[in-house]
């Protein structure tokens, strides 16, 4: 990976999705010192078409993302897309079919009126689920509850994640909901959405785009590109559609994806060999859930690590040094900026005020999506 870029995450009524793509793609190419002419293929990542109200959204975003007259393809694995599109970009290069690939992820949720949540009414099985009129907060409340119940986790411990990430996000120039003064008290006092989920347990919907540039080692060598980080492991996994049939306390599919990525990266002991993580955190409890899914903590141990400060930016295993989705915002697929982009910036020493104070050489991030069912994992090394 030789370049990354991301736009400001906000309700961006002035720009179309194409324009957001252009902005992020341009930043990523500039940071790599390349132009569109150097790009052999473009991968697009975007979540539900219904957010934008455009059918075949990949085709619509195509010219903004730089796909004009190039091999261009969109991949879509729900919320997992934020990390998955980079995996697709990786196989474009690793197969030898492309030397330089631009990956552009976009989401524009504000077009969806009155709220993006209305789109999520259509992600359910039409016979078994939809008649119950569920929404996402609902099922995540069930998952959070199950996690808390199995391990005896307190709300206070989970709120610590929201506090950490929203404070970390203060140093992120794209952040939407950073808060330097937030306390556990604030989270616990915020409006109850669906118990045990409260307003400040949730990341905000957003508009934005992010992009990364991938290149073969030959290109990196020939062009003597210094700022690069290597993708050393990829893994992805989907669980059954029937979310009601699994025990929600542990994300088995994330663990499988992680094992696939660790095997490829030749990582035997992830807790010891991985220096920092960007676990997917659309809800605060998800960071804990995913640290365990990524095998960076034992089952039920992540709250303890959080309480002890291990996952703080200056801790032994920084988690979400970017500020994550909780602090920077959650334009579904565009969260590639915090997840993949942050690995790149941290590993190349370009994270500015967010830079982890000690040396980091190996990082992992994961995406998560669909009906609590999708895991995508990328391991990167300096």
């Amino acid at each position: 990976m030789i370049g990354a870029g991301m736009t400001l995450f906000r309700r961006r009524l002035q720009e179309t999705g194409k324009e957001l793509c252009y902005e992020a793609a341009r930043m990523a190419l500039d940071s790599a010192g390349l132009t569109l002419a150097d790009v052999d293929a473009v991968v697009s990542g975007s979540a539900p078409d219904a957010f934008d109200g455009v059918h075949m959204k990949g085709e619509y975003l195509l010219d903004g993302a730089g796909g004009y007259r190039k091999p261009y393809v969109r991949v879509f694995t729900g919320g997992g897309t934020g990390v998955f599109s980079t995996i697709a970009g990786w196989w474009h290069v690793a197969s030898g079919l492309a030397d330089v690939v631009l990956v552009v992820n976009e989401e524009k949720m504000s077009s969806c009126q009155p709220h993006a949540q209305s789109v999520f009414a259509h992600i359910w099985d039409p016979i078994l689920d939809r008649p119950l009129q569920p929404n996402l907060v609902w099922i995540f409340a069930m998952e959070m509850n199950r996690y808390m119940t199995v391990h005896g986790v307190k709300k206070e411990d989970i709120a610590l994640v929201a506090v950490k990430n929203k404070r970390n996000a203060v140093d992120h120039p794209c952040a939407q909901l950073a808060d330097p003064k937030i306390t556990v008290e604030d989270v616990l006092k915020s409006e109850v959405m669906a118990w045990p989920v409260q307003r400040l347990d949730i990341s905000p919907p957003s508009d934005g785009a992010s992009a990364v540039v991938l290149a073969s080692d030959e290109v990196i060598r020939k062009r003597r590109i210094k700022d690069r980080a290597w993708i050393s492991g990829v893994g992805w996994c989907i669980d059954s559609t029937m979310w009601t049939d699994r025990d929600l306390y542990f994300p088995q599919y994330v663990a499988r994806a992680a094992k696939m990525a660790y095997k490829m990266a030749k990582i035997g002991d992830p807790r010891r060999e991985i220096d920092f993580a960007e676990p997917y955190d659309p809800f605060d409890y998800k960071e804990l859930h995913h640290l365990e899914g990524l095998l960076l903590a034992k089952k039920g141990e992540a709250p303890k690590l959080t309480r002890e400060g291990v996952t703080q930016r200056d801790g032994d295993l920084p988690a979400c040094p970017s500020g994550g989705l909780m602090g920077v915002g959650n334009p579904i697929a565009a969260t590639m900026g915090q997840k993949i982009g942050e690995l790149f910036w941290q590993l190349t020493g370009q994270a500015g005020k967010r830079q982890i104070p000690h040396e980091v050489r190996t990082g992992v991030s994961n995406g998560w999506g669909d009906l609590m069912q999708y895991g995508s994992v990328v391991v990167m090394r300096a």
Binding site: D49, K57, G58, D63, F84, S95, G96, I238, S240, M264
Partner: protein, 383 residues
């Protein structure tokens, strides 16, 4: 590393399948493909890819509904929002990396579940510049057909020859939904729809599912398969904006073919390719695509169609399967269906539509109105 197709599974195409859900269609095609390849999806497949678009499916995140019926639960699986050939190209790349040995590509259509097809397609138009103009989105195809016919001076009669050939080929294909003995003059006498396109120039929607099992050379040997090799893949997009794209020529197909030919080391496609399955969801598309693919010279495809060059016993059999005009429009499954047909032809399993002595075949797809994107696969048997 060589990558080959070791299993093919298809359902029949039908104008409607009220007795089946789309999951059951997928299951049937997958079961057939796994039986054909002799693989157990739960233990011998490393990666699954489904090609689908939310609006066609009627779901917010269709990816959720992919795994169970194709045996992919708790396995590496992803959705490619593209045509089945885009999925095949991604499977090809996954295997080329060395990470994946056996991949499965699935694509399907349950078009009969779509009650507002024109409305769905219309939502593919630019929401600011084009959608507010109103009108049926197939107007885009009409405008393109007009630009193609004028710029190449192709006689409108040749569209009738394409329709007649493909509908008649469909009669030889037991999977085809719309095989019929259509006379070449009949399309020209059918009702005018999106001028110059008439009712019979437009393929009708169909339901169906296709699954291919793709394997590295090593895995193919392990499975004792006799693969049809993927010699080359290519995919490309022209401008998404109706105003700035090339309307007369299918630039996306030309670029995709260039890429596929480069990988397949094909220099003279018209000489080296024995048969082709190209997108014909509107009759003119078959001619426009053949020219873009270098299988006919610019402006000659129409006249060659009139000469019968593209019939099953012609110089270059095109859409021996019946194409989309004969089999039905299966949307994102269209390209994968064509690849499956080429595989059957090259294996000698194409029944009464079998083309004699074909060793190299081409499958080409287009992502339908209003896109200017498509993919190409060059398949071959033997060395």
């Amino acid at each position: 590393m060589r990558v080959g197709i070791v299993g093919v599974g298809m359902t029949a195409f039908r104008s409607s399948t009220p007795e089946y859900s789309w999951k059951e269609l997928m299951y049937e095609a997958a079961s057939r493909a796994y039986a054909d390849a002799g693989v157990d999806p739960r233990t011998q497949v490393d990666s699954f890819l489904t090609c689908a678009e939310d609006y066609y499916e009627g779901f917010g995140i269709f990816d959720e509904f992919v795994p169970d019926q194709i045996g992919a639960a708790l396995r590496p699986t992803c959705t490619v929002s593209g045509d089945g050939l885009h999925g095949l190209a991604n499977a090809f790349m996954q295997i080329q990396t060395g990470l994946i040995d056996v991949a499965v590509v699935e694509a399907h259509s349950k078009a009969s579940d779509i009650t507002t097809l024109a409305g769905v397609v219309e939502h593919g138009l630019d929401p600011i510049w084009n959608k507010p103009l109103g009108g049926h989105p197939y107007i885009v195809a009409g405008l393109e057909a007009d630009a193609y016919l004028r710029s190449t001076r192709t006689p409108a009669r040749s569209l009738g020859a394409v329709v007649s050939k493909n509908r008649r080929n469909g009669l030889r294909n037991p999977h085809a939904a719309y095989g019929a003995d259509v006379d070449p003059a009949q399309p020209l006498a059918s009702e005018e729809r999106f001028s110059p396109l008439r009712a019979l120039d437009i393929s009708a929607p169909a339901d169906g599912a296709i699954v291919l099992v793709v394997a590295s050379e090593r895995a193919a040997r392990r499975l004792r398969a006799d693969p049809v090799w993927i010699r080359g893949v290519g995919w490309a997009s022209d401008s998404p904006s109706l105003e700035t794209r090339d309307r007369a020529a299918a630039t996306y197909a030309r670029l995709a073919a260039q890429m596929a030919y480069r990988l397949a080391k094909i220099r003279a496609p018209a000489r080296e390719i024995d048969l082709a399955e190209v997108d014909d969801r509107f009759s003119y598309k078959e001619l426009q695509h053949l020219e873009a693919l270098g299988l006919a010279r610019a402006g000659e495809a129409g006249r060659r169609a009139l000469n019968g060059d593209f019939s099953i016993d012609g110089r270059l059999p095109v859409n021996a399967s019946g194409g989309s005009l004969g089999c039905g429009n299966v949307f994102e499954a269209t390209g994968l269906h064509r690849a499956a047909e080429v595989v059957l032809q090259l294996r000698g399993d194409a029944g009464s539509r079998q083309v004699d002595g074909a060793n190299v075949g081409l499958a080409q797809s287009w992502r339908f109105v209003p896109s200017a994107s498509g993919a190409v696969a060059v398949l071959g048997v033997g060395k």
